[in-house]
């Protein structure tokens, strides 16, 4: 990553907005997901929210991926040692992979299970796989495992950010805050 003085101190505005919007949607999806599959009375209504919200996340995730690739990211501060940089990169990559894969698997598993993929009213998505019972069962399990993995990744990510912000106190959170934070006397890119 470039450490020139022109390096931005925050992520691109759109990325910051998408980060918090998607964080809220993803957490909602995780909670809706686990509660609907254990609820008899609310299953149907929760699933009716789960499907279109999940597909919205897929669309946001693709926009986010493109924005991320098109914009420079702020250089990491020196308070992040190289070993931690590795972990950070990996976890960022994993979270992108998960929030793109999860809705795709949801869509694919409903296709393999021979369900109509209802968004709302008469709006449906086309199936992306032919009906295949074994594949449905496998994808259904994968959907669960990856959703739990995303939840764990989120807990680790949040703990890491808060560790830096509250204990190392390197203003880590401000890199992602939606409003502009001017780092007086401290520029993330400067060492």
């Amino acid at each position: 990553m470039a450490t020139t003085t022109t390096s931005p101190t925050q992520f691109a505005f759109l990325l910051r907005i998408l980060h918090w919007l998607m964080a809220a949607c993803l957490l909602a999806m995780l909670f809706i997901g686990v509660s609907m599959v254990t609820s008899v009375g609310n299953y149907h209504q929760l699933l009716a929210i789960h499907r279109p919200l999940g597909i919205s996340i897929l669309i946001l995730a693709l926009i986010r991926l493109v924005t991320r690739l098109m914009n420079r990211t702020p250089a990491l501060p020196p308070t992040v040692p190289p070993s931690e940089r590795m972990i950070m990169k990996l976890s960022e990559f994993a979270m992108y992979a998960l929030f793109i894969a999860l809705p795709l698997i949801g869509w694919a598993m409903l296709s393999a299970g021979n369900y109509p993929i209802v968004m709302f009213g008469s709006v449906h998505l086309p199936p992306i796989l032919a009906p295949q019972p074994m594949l449905y069962a496998t994808l259904r399990k994968t959907h669960t495992i990856l959703a739990y993995a995303l939840f764990l990744a989120f807990l680790a990510h949040m703990s890491g950010v808060l560790f830096h912000t509250w204990i190392v106190r390197d203003h880590f959170l401000s890199r992602m805050l939606p409003w502009t934070v001017r780092a007086k006397g401290r520029r993330a890119g400067e060492i």
Partner: protein, 365 residues
């Protein structure tokens, strides 16, 4: 971030005192524990005795054993195809394309209630017909109907408890009369439903049975008006008394297979129109007999195929797969069925398939 913090210069400010580090670490730990705890709570891990879709399906498995690859209920069945000819009479109540005048392809499945795929047919088994209507606009309507005019229970928990109370003890093979009695004394609606069911006699087979959707739904028309409805299908054949049970373990299936081979079977699809105030969350009771009944068209069943080869085996006749124009009512059994059928599908789809009792050879007889 405060101004003074921001002004601390490059990188990190001087380290925090140990006490503050511990307090802040504890804060992060607490946040993680609270969020994870909430997640576990919402996901039901902290309430292991709650009634979940998995618990319902476990109950079927407990009673019937795990029958690899088969539906956990209505396990013994045969697949059919045909079509629905709509006469257009339903269109004033529902905007779904299926009620526009015209012909819609249908796939379906005849089955006997219960989770035993190889049990011998008996005349008092509950018979079912599940149908899937697929319209040209890509919408689907799936419905599972049974040949009794009322359901024994109204609520999900009652379904579970009734199932447990009326199932034979695996050791003695007998139903515990005291348990049934105890259930009935707490559930007058079940006692009343059983009285209605006891007063009817079964017909000769699948082909001359009426099948009832039982749960209430809501039809929504083009103007957005919604009407509570229930539906049932009425056979063209006149009901004949039960045939004598033979040594043929599959006599009910063999009979309907032979009938389909000799000519298509027909039912009229009848929509019962509810009035404001008619209960929509009580599958155990009927609406008053004077409610308007609209004949919206005929269902014709013309071909029959074994589950071993039919793709219909892998279809979940989830009663809440509905086209725009039909909605769920407030009946809690609907969401429960949807959730339990999904659980049943997930389990059976992932299992090794064992040939059905109604084999390809049986269907060709």
């Amino acid at each position: 971030m405060t101004e003074s913090e921001a002004n601390q210069g490059f990188g990190a400010p001087p380290p925090l005192p140990m006490g503050a580090v511990i307090a802040r670490l504890a804060g992060i730990g607490l946040l993680v524990v609270v969020i994870a705890g909430l997640f576990l709570y919402v996901g039901g891990w902290l309430t292991p005795h709650a009634l979940t879709p998995a618990a319902l399906v476990d109950t079927f498995e407990h009673i019937n054993g795990v029958q690899s690859g088969f539906r956990r209920n209505h396990a013994k069945g045969v697949c059919v195809t045909g079509y629905f000819e709509s006469n257009g009479q339903g269109a004033t109540l529902s905007r779904a394309q299926v009620f526009q005048q015209g012909r819609v392809p249908v796939v379906g499945r005849f089955a006997l209630a219960g989770g035993q795929p190889f049990a011998a047919d008996t005349s008092h088994d509950v018979r079912s017909l599940a149908l899937l209507f697929k319209t040209a606009d890509g919408e689907e309507w799936r419905t599972g109907m049974i040949n009794i005019p009322v359901f024994p229970v109204n609520k999900p928990q009652d379904f579970h408890d009734f199932l447990v109370a009326t199932s034979p003890d695996p050791k003695t093979g007998k139903v515990d009369g005291a348990a049934v009695g105890a259930f009935l004394s707490k559930h007058p609606e079940t006692a009343a439903a059983l009285k209605i069911l006891g007063s009817g006699t079964p017909t000769s087979g699948f082909s001359d049975s009426s099948y009832y959707g039982l749960n209430a739904f809501r039809f929504v028309n083009a103007k957005g008006e919604d009407t509570p409805v229930r539906w049932w299908i009425n056979p063209d054949l006149t009901a004949a008394p039960p045939s004598v049970e033979t040594t043929d373990k599959n006599y009910l299936f063999d009979q309907v297979i032979a009938q389909i081979h000799s000519g298509p079977l027909r039912w009229h699809l009848i929509v019962i129109v509810g009035q404001p105030g008619d209960p929509t969350a009580e599958a155990a009771s009927m609406w008053p007999a004077d409610r308007q009944q609209i004949d919206v068209g005929t269902v014709t069943i013309s071909t029959v195929e074994s589950e071993d080869t039919s793709p219909t085996r892998d279809i979940n006749f989830d009663p809440l797969v509905l086209p725009d124009g039909i909605r769920a009512s407030d009946d809690p059994l609907l969401s429960t069925r949807s959730a339990a059928y999904s659980q049943s599908l997930t389990r059976r789809d992932g299992e090794r398939k064992i040939p059905s009792a109604i084999s390809t050879a049986e269907v060709q007889k």
